[in-house]
């Protein structure tokens, strides 16, 4: 139950430490990375975010983007190289983890192997609460919530992965911490269990009512769990917003490509301005952008030129119209009621999704791999990005 404020927080791993890791991890060739300087490796740069009380924030981004580092700085496990971190309006940069009153669920659970489940959960309470009865009551309550009451006397080694995961969560919620930190807690579960746990986290969240910071690289988890999502890349925040905001108005091509499955398609196109009218051109296809979008473009003083045109796979439709672009149909992937169709246009790959479930309950597929067909999309479905910077031209 607390707000968390990060002001220009950054983390630079000193060169020595960085060299150690690199030797172990030869696969990732980050030598040419812009994050690397003589000062060290900038894992997180200028991270500013105000997390409100009881908000559920999800940090999401590809591997190595600095999510865990950010989380560990909030927990106090990693020193903050620059900037300020406040928990409940108290500057905590120099405060030890044990005095921050945060709880954390580790990606690999990190249960204490020599203790029973009961003691694992009670461990943190023993430092804070004197009364045995009180501890017992809280442990049993947490175990009840997570459905692990019957395992309380077991040691972690005799539990399954999903049960260990619950114990790890139980250990965190039992304390009723100010801030709950979770680092990819579901990433080690199989798909089915993951979906189940995701749902349980949603209910859990309503029950325990505290501030959450949740790290994941799975955008489904991010979209379903988060009040707000923070999308990161290379140590920088790319965008912060509600799931709907980041889906509808991605700040740049990275966010647009990251949120939504299958990925948004990107085409090379050009934009022409004629007074208050903007026209997008791609091969034989052209369309005026919508009125509202045009107003925003004009407001941003966009003059036109080469752009990247983004279109979600669901927005592409087949057409007979002349005003269209032609593409070769590649592989078809039947997903059930919908089909993913891989297209190739001007040497660029794209993907479209259409519903193929007819009213009679039968699938209706008349796409032939190898054939060339015409496609178009609605003008409201177009996202326009700067060719150089990748920025969304409408925001």
């Amino acid at each position: 139950m607390a707000s968390v404020v990060l002001k220009n927080v950054s983390k630079i791993y000193p060169p020595a430490e960085w060299a150690k890791i690199r030797k172990k991890d030869q696969a990732s060739d980050l030598n040419a990375s812009p994050q690397l300087s003589e000062k060290g490796f900038a894992a997180v740069t200028d991270f500013s975010l105000e997390i409100r009380d009881k908000e559920f924030i999800v940090l999401v981004g590809p591997s190595g983007c600095g999510k865990s580092t950010t989380l560990r700085m909030i927990a106090g496990l990693e020193e903050i190289s620059g900037g300020e971190l406040y928990i409940d309006d108290r500057l905590v940069n120099e405060i030890e983890p044990k005095d921050r009153d945060v709880a954390m669920v580790f990606q690999n659970y990190a249960l204490y192997p020599h203790m029973t489940v009961y003691n694992n959960i009670a461990f943190a309470l023993k430092k804070r609460i004197r009364s045995k009865a009180e501890i017992d009551r809280k442990v049993r309550e947490a175990a009840e919530i997570l459905g692990i009451t019957e395992y309380l006397d077991r040691k972690p080694k005799s539990l399954s992965g999903g049960q260990r995961q619950r114990v790890a969560i139980g250990r965190a919620i039992v304390r009723n911490p100010k801030v709950m930190l979770m680092d990819e807690p579901l990433s080690n579960l199989d798909a089915k269990l993951r979906n189940q746990m995701r749902e349980e986290l949603l209910t859990l969240r309503n029950r325990i009512d505290t501030t959450f910071v949740y790290v994941t690289h799975d955008q489904t988890e991010a979209m379903t769990l988060g009040d707000r999502i923070v999308i990161m890349k290379d140590g920088f925040i790319q965008q912060v917003g509600t799931p709907q905001e980041v889906f509808e108005n991605p700040a740049n091509t990275f966010v647009a490509g990251f949120i939504g499955t299958p990925q948004m398609n990107f085409f090379d196109a050009s934009l022409e301005r004629d007074g208050q009218r903007y026209t997008v051109r791609m091969g034989n296809f052209h369309a005026d952008v919508g009125e509202e979008a045009a107003r925003k473009l004009a407001f941003n003083n966009v003059t036109g030129g080469d752009i990247i045109l983004g279109v979600r796979p669901e927005s592409i439709t087949e057409t007979e119209d002349e005003v269209s672009f032609s593409a070769r149909v590649g592989v078809l992937e039947l997903m059930g009621s919908s089909v993913h169709i891989h297209l190739e246009h001007n040497g660029k790959k794209a993907i479209m999704v259409t519903q193929v479930l007819g009213e009679n309950g039968k699938l209706k597929m008349d796409y032939k791999p190898g054939s060339i067909m015409r496609f178009r999309f609605a003008r409201e479905a177009m996202y326009l990005f700067d060719r150089q910077t990748g920025k969304n031209l409408e925001v």
């Binding site: 927990a75 954390m104 249960l111 461990f123 943190a124 080694k157 005799s158 080690n188």
Partner: protein
């Protein structure tokens, strides 16, 4: 199929025979010692291995009476137990610091400590003796133990073990509100119990069996002798009585064996299973 089986059987037999032979060679002195301890004076001069009867216990009672062995056992116990205890505490704390903390000159210090393992202990005998005598600490328990308070090899082994415990363990404990010392006591030591017990037993037996150092620092006060020194004094040039010495040796073996048997259960492998994902 059949041939493979016979081949394996032959291999097993050969290996077993060799192992038994080596085992016999190792244990023979002890068998000889136990048998000799039950022999009468005249039996001892015959070449027979076995004594006439295992009910002849005069050697044991003589040894206990003549040499004040009980007092020596007590001395040895104090020296070996507290010496080991302090050694373990110091090794564990140093190993923890080297495993988890970052401080200046850490690597230099670490290699300096490891370097001391290269120096044979006997080389230091004279200088250590001088130090102890100048401090007027000869003939004390402290003098007997002090040279064994620090052990570079134990520290090194513990550090390696500590470093194999995932860092997450410590971080989880930190977040749960535990500082370094309470983490060490409530989590790290229990997890590493097999190694620590093994080192404890090993160290205890070493200190129990120490001979040269206790001999020279207790030379002028017989009451402070340890058992190993005391046993040898059972035999003097005017009264050669080896059965008595062997009886003394048998008695001296008992505490180490009891300790080993008690601790054996704890020395099993294990520790981390179930903590992490899998």
């Amino acid at each position: 199929m059949m041939r493979l089986k016979t081949k394996n059987a032959i291999k097993d037999t050969v290996v077993s025979i060799i192992a038994i032979a080596i085992g016999l060679i190792i244990i023979f002195p002890i068998i000889y010692c136990v048998c000799g301890a039950f022999k009468t004076e005249s039996e001892f001069l015959t070449p027979n291995l076995l004594p006439g009867s295992f009910s002849y216990t005069k050697n044991f009672s003589d040894a206990l009476r003549k040499g004040d062995l009980l007092r020596y056992i007590g001395n040895s116990f104090i020296v070996a137990f507290f010496g080991t205890l302090i050694r373990m505490v110091l090794s564990i704390l140093a190993a923890y610091a080297f495993a988890y903390f970052d401080f200046r000159f850490k690597n230099v210090l670490f290699f300096l400590i490891l370097g001391t393992m290269m120096i044979p202990g006997d080389v230091l005998l004279a200088t250590n003796y001088l130090t102890i005598s100048k401090l007027h600490m000869l003939n004390t328990y402290f003098a007997c133990m002090v040279v064994s308070f620090v052990s570079a090899s134990q520290m090194f082994m513990l550090r390696q073990r500590f470093m194999s415990v995932p860092r997450d363990m410590r971080e989880a404990a930190q977040i749960d509100g535990y500082g370094d010392l309470s983490y060490l006591i409530t989590i790290l030591i229990p997890i590493c119990r097999p190694v620590i017990t093994t080192l404890f037993v090993h160290s205890f037996i070493n200190l129990w069996n120490a001979y040269l150092w206790p001999l020279i620092v207790t030379a002028s006060k017989p009451a402070m002798r340890t058992i190993m020194v005391g046993i040898t004094k059972l035999n003097s040039w005017e009264d050669e009585n080896y059965q008595l010495v062997l009886a003394g040796v048998c008695i001296s073996l008992i505490p180490s064996m009891i300790l080993f048997i008690i601790m054996r259960r704890n020395m099993r492998k294990g520790g981390m299973e179930g903590s992490l994902v899998g």
